[in-house]
């Protein structure tokens, strides 16, 4: 085909020349071709380049996974460490009646929470993270599902007694410090739940005497009697019980102390388990008590012991052959023989309240020597023969009449729920 170009239409000619490569001539007329391989390749290369750029970005991001893992690991270990201190603080402060946390757990309104002060973490948390990083942390305790009913649905003996869950939430936010702003690298939240009990350790009710009396005897052949502390030190004889005691009219069979087993801190331990759990530490010669601890066998305390903490030790029977001295003035112990007697083969001081009562009404304290008790005695019977030969000295321990130490809060050793939430993000503020 011949195209005639007029001089005035040079522009048209130039345009035609630019399109001429894509026009081929056939006997049937004009037809468009698929273009050159070169342009096809360029097109393919462009597509591949875009694809590879995306692929490169993907692997560039994945190359940072090791850093992210490291940040998460640092945040996790910091959260676990801080949570550990929070658990220890909770247990310590729950045992101090004057602390904020004890008040929170004692009042036990579900949903209420308070911060836990962490002096150890505030001093050393900086050593858990590498240089150039910083972290924020906090720990809170919250009361969940507190109930004042026993598992069988009956109310506990005391209105304040009950059980619930203390939930500790510890949060750590790891940051990278940069000029004037810091970015969040990882955050870790740890929530742990522990059971806790509120129990009465001086369960004096209208049906049986409180523990601030010197001697309480349930079955003297007549009516139950008590001898109060007239002075802070008494030397008792059987005649005192006959002549100087007060009669209790309504001390019934169902009013033995510590009847509610669900409030016992530890149950059915044998002497070896008592040692392993640290309640009776034979190596250090310490008796460490918190709450109500039950041993299903006899307990024999030979030699001298130091009493630490505040609580009740229940066993079938007791044999005490040495001194039991409390470490601090606020400490106290109550030894309760549920099936047998309490035998005292020492004239050294025993800083404990002694209870020997059982269903057969046969429990008693048998002093093999002149016994020196700093506490109280509560028994089923007193043998006149033994008291005729041996003296029973009782010194008042005022803490047994102090209502502020009556209720104890015991936080369980076992975590019954744990939730870990981690978050790795990178936003600046």
């Amino acid at each position: 085909m011949l195209i005639k170009a007029r001089p005035e239409s040079r522009l048209f000619l130039l345009r035609m020349q630019s399109h001429v490569d894509s026009i081929s001539m056939t006997p049937t007329g004009l037809r468009r071709t698929s273009g050159s391989l070169m342009s096809l390749m360029l097109f393919a290369a462009g597509i591949l380049s875009i694809f590879l750029l995306g692929y490169f970005r993907f692997f560039q991001e994945s190359a940072n996974i090791d850093k992210r893992l490291q940040h998460q690991q640092i945040a996790r270990q910091a959260a676990i460490s801080i949570n550990e201190e929070a658990l220890i603080r909770l247990k310590r402060e729950a045992f101090s009646p004057e602390s904020r946390i004890a008040a929170l757990l004692f009042n036990a309104v579900s949903g209420t929470e308070c911060d836990i002060q962490l002096p150890f973490s505030s001093k050393y948390a900086g050593q858990l993270i590498p240089q150039g990083y910083s972290c924020e942390y906090e720990s809170k305790v919250k009361v969940i599902g507190f109930t004042r009913l026993s598992p069988d649905g009956k109310p506990y003996a005391s209105k304040k007694e009950g059980h619930g869950i203390a939930a500790i939430t510890s949060t750590v936010v790891l940051r990278k410090d940069r000029e004037e702003k810091s970015s969040v690298l990882a955050s870790y939240k740890l929530e742990t739940h522990l059971d806790y009990l509120v129990l009465s350790v001086f369960p004096g009710t209208s049906e049986h005497p409180a523990f601030d009396k010197a001697l309480s005897v349930r079955n003297t052949g007549g009516k139950p009697r008590i001898i109060p502390f007239v002075t802070n030190r008494l030397q008792l004889s059987f005649n005192d019980l006959q002549n100087n005691s007060n009669v209790i009219e309504n001390w019934g069979d169902s009013s033995l102390p510590y009847q509610e087993h669900s409030l016992w801190t530890a149950k059915n331990l044998d002497p070896a388990a008592l040692n392993n759990a640290g309640f009776i530490d034979h190596e250090k010669r310490h008796i460490n008590l918190r709450g109500i601890v039950h041993c299903q066998e006899d307990i024999k305390l030979h030699g001298n012991w130091e009493m630490r903490g505040r609580g009740v030790l229940i066993a079938d029977s007791f044999e005490i052959s040495g001194a039991v001295i409390k470490a601090e003035s606020k400490d106290f112990a109550i030894f309760y023989a549920r099936h047998g007697n309490i035998v005292i083969n020492t004239d050294l001081q025993i800083h404990a309240g002694l209870i020997a009562m059982n269903d057969k009404r046969s429990g008693t304290v048998l002093p093999g020597k002149n016994a020196d008790i700093h506490g109280f005695i509560m028994v089923d019977r007193i043998s006149p023969d033994i008291l005729a030969e041996k003296s029973l000295d009782l010194t008042q321990n005022p803490i047994f009449g102090d209502k502020s130490y009556d209720h104890q809060i015991i936080v369980g050793d076992w975590i019954n729920f744990i939730s870990q939430t981690r978050q790795a993000d990178a936003h600046s503020n």
Binding site: I23, T33, M38, L69, Q70, A78, E84
Partner: protein
Amino acid sequence: MRIATKKLGDGFAFSEILIAILLFGLISLYLMQLFNFSNQGTMLVYYQHIAEKLAEEPIEFLRGTGYEGIIACEQNKFPEYKVDIWHSLADSNELTADDRPDAVSLFERKISLSPTVAEDTRGYLVRVVVRPVSTSSSFLQKRMEEVTCSAFILERP
């Protein structure tokens, strides 16, 4: 004017094919490098994960033994967890009888214990550092940094 046109049956020029092969070659080369890079990245994350677990292992063990266990560890009573020296790692933990991956032989570990006190709380700051052994591959030596894991272990009431 006679216009030069390309007919369908003419085929491709030799130079076009050469350029196409060159382009594909370059792209393929880049792609191969990318796969290699990806493989190395995956291996690095794998080694990083193992190093982190090796760093966490003594902390978890000592957390289980408690404060008394740390005092025993400080006196080097646990041969598996030597204190203050770099030590190589066996394929299985003699103390807990746990098997470890073969790759643990590429690392060595150092445990440091610092006694610390704040108010009425005593504890230890445990720091564990894991690094590739000097006989490990140059890739691991160059690409992998030391992994450090720190934690408190406190005396419980």
